[in-house]
Each structure stands twice: as structure tokens, then as C-alpha cells.
């Protein structure tokens, strides 16, 4: 199955890149109605499993071991194909 993992910074963790993006959108491009821009990471991966419980266990393990730093990040995922 094809899985899409979305990694975001936890609430309260300073997102300097999000702030820079926000400044560009608001100050340089004039989107004055925008605020609270946050950026994250998207990882797609093909897993040779179909059982949702097995998929969850693989995703949790790869996020724990490499993809996510739990001190500052949260993640969720969806099966996309």
C-alpha cells in the first residue's frame, strides 16, 4: 500500500521557516488576510502490507526510529493507494 506520512512541528515549537514564509506571503505578496503559517514534511512510502494493523506498526516504528523527532514533532498518516 502507498502511505503518506505528514510530519508537523508540535504546538509551541518555534517554526522559523513558517514565520519566514508568512512574512513573504504577507509583506511581499500582500496577502494580509494570512496568519499562523506552519510548515512541515511529507514522506510517501510503499509498504508491502495490506493489513491496517501491520501498516500502523511499520509506520509507527519508522517514525519512531528515524522520520520523527518526538521532542519537537508530531505525525499522522493516510493510506493513499
Amino acid at each position: 500500500m502507498k502511505i503518506r506520512i505528514l510530519i508537523t512541528l508540535k504546538k509551541g515549537v518555534l517554526d522559523t521557516q513558517g514565520k519566514a514564509i508568512e512574512n513573504s506571503l504577507v509583506k511581499n505578496l500582500g496577502f494580509s488576510q494570512l496568519s499562523q503559517v506552519r510548515q512541515g514534511k511529507l514522506v510517501e512510502v510503499e509498504i508491502a502490507e495490506t493489513d491496517p494493523a501491520k501498516i500502523k506498526s511499520v509506520v509507527d516504528e519508522i517514525c519512531d526510529k528515524l522520520l520523527v523527532n518526538k521532542v519537537i514533532e508530531d505525525y499522522n498518516y493516510e493510506v493513499i493507494a
Partner: protein, 227 residues
């Protein structure tokens, strides 16, 4: 003293680290990151600066799971000294050998200049040659040096004397102006609880010769030699 400097794809301060070890008379060898065995009689392992794995995913994340890091963890548990400099500090936090994490600099800029530091704990194997609260000058060169940990962790680190160095002004005061990257509590470097692992963003190995502006970094290597 017998030292090893770990080399990852993208390390670029490994040679400076070797020079610093040699300058104080330590035997030193470079170890490639795919190595699965480190010698048990090592006194010091240096995880050097650079851009391991191109800083992909998160700075230090992929280096932290390379084969040699299992050995670094094993030896650190036996009390071998581990020194992580700049990217090496990021790698040690990602590997779980030190608490917290290094976020992108507050102003989202790569910063390369000298900074002033205050020695916060001189009762360790790394800092024994410094005086209490000594002000020292090291260069920094990083994009992700903004030290972050949750409030409970910060409190515990402070309480255990794990803060090694703090960014300060010329008078030794901890100020926002003296903080180059937004690091929590102006923290530039921390120890683990056992004080045998030190990670810091500034570069002591680039401050060992008067010709390059400072010799304040030499004391770390001399302290280790005497420990």
C-alpha cells in the same frame, strides 16, 4: 590518551578535530561511519562538525542511526568520553545521548562568527582546566543551533549541572543580544547526567591556535588529557 574521530559522509571538521587531539599529544585515528567495532581502550570519541548526509530530514538524524553510533552508545555507557561539536552535537541529541534538540536558528540564517561563552560547570573531565565562570571565545558556524527542550527537561538539565556553556556578552551576562541563534536559556553546550558526554555548537577545535584568533578551545583537550 587514545582518541577516535568519527567521519560521516559530509563531515568537514574531522581534520581539525584530529589536529586538536594531536596538539595535546593524544593518539588519534579517523573512523568511518560504517565501522561496526570501536576499540574498548578508547579514552575519547569525537563526533565532528559538518553536514552529515547533507542535513537531510533533520540535522544529524541519519548519522545518528549509522552503524558506528551503536558502538559510540556502547562505549559511552562504559564511561568513555564523547565530544560532539556542532553537527556532532546535533547527532548526539538525535541519537539520544544528550537531551533536547537543535532547531533552525531563530533568524533563519547561517551564522559564522566568534562568540563569547561562559563556562558553567568546570568540575568535569572536559572543563577542568577552565576557571569558574571563565569567559572564552569560540567560533560558531551553523544553521541549526537553536537549542530546544521542554520546560521540565530544561529545569532538570539546569538542576543537574548539565549546562556546560552559555552565550554571554563581554561582561559575562546572559542577554538576548549575546544569544546568536535563539537557544533556550542561552545554552551553547550541555553534558549528560554522568558528565562523560558533551555536545556544543561552538567549535573548540577551531580555537587552538593564536593564528586563527583564539586558543580558548585548547583547554577542553588539555582537560581531557589530564582527566
Amino acid at each position: 590518551m587514545k582518541s577516535a574521530v568519527i567521519v560521516f559522509p559530509g563531515s568537514n571538521c574531522d581534520r581539525d578535530a584530529v589536529s586538536a587531539c594531536q596538539k595535546v599529544g593524544s593518539k588519534v585515528s579517523k573512523i568511518w561511519h560504517q565501522e561496526t567495532k570501536l576499540e574498548d581502550d578508547l579514552d575519547l570519541i569525537i563526533v565532528p562538525g559538518g553536514f552529515s548526509y547533507g542535513d537531510y530530514l533533520r540535522s544529524g538524524a541519519m548519522a545518528a542511526i549509522s552503524p558506528v553510533m551503536q558502538e559510540v552508545k556502547r562505549l559511552s555507557k562504559k564511561g568513555v568520553k564523547v565530544l560532539g561539536i556542532c553537527n556532532g552535537f546535533q547527532i548526539l541529541t538525535e541519537a539520544g545521548l544528550l537531551e533536547g534538540v537543535l532547531l533552525r536558528n531563530k533568524k533563519v540564517k547561517f551564522i559564522c562568527r566568534d562568540v563569547l561563552l561562559r563556562v558553567e560547570n568546570q568540575n568535569t573531565a572536559f572543563t577542568g582546566k577552565y576557571k569558574k565562570n571563565q569567559i572564552i571565545k569560540f567560533p560558531i558556524a551553523h544553521m541549526d543551533g537553536n537549542y530546544f527542550a521542554d520546560p521540565e527537561t530544561l529545569k532538570r538539565i539546569e538542576g543537574n549541572g548539565n549546562v556546560a556553556f552559555r552565550y554571554v556578552d563581554v561582561n559575562g551576562n546572559v542577554t538576548d543580544e549575546a544569544n546568536p541563534n535563539g537557544a533556550a536559556l542561552n545554552i551553547a553546550g550541555i553534558f549528560n547526567d554522568q558528565k562523560n558526554v558533551l555536545g556544543l555548537m561552538p567549535h573548540p577545535e577551531r580555537a587552538i591556535d593564536d593564528n586563527t584568533g583564539s586558543i580558548d578551545g585548547l583547554s577542553i583537550f588539555e582537560s581531557l588529557l589530564a582527566a
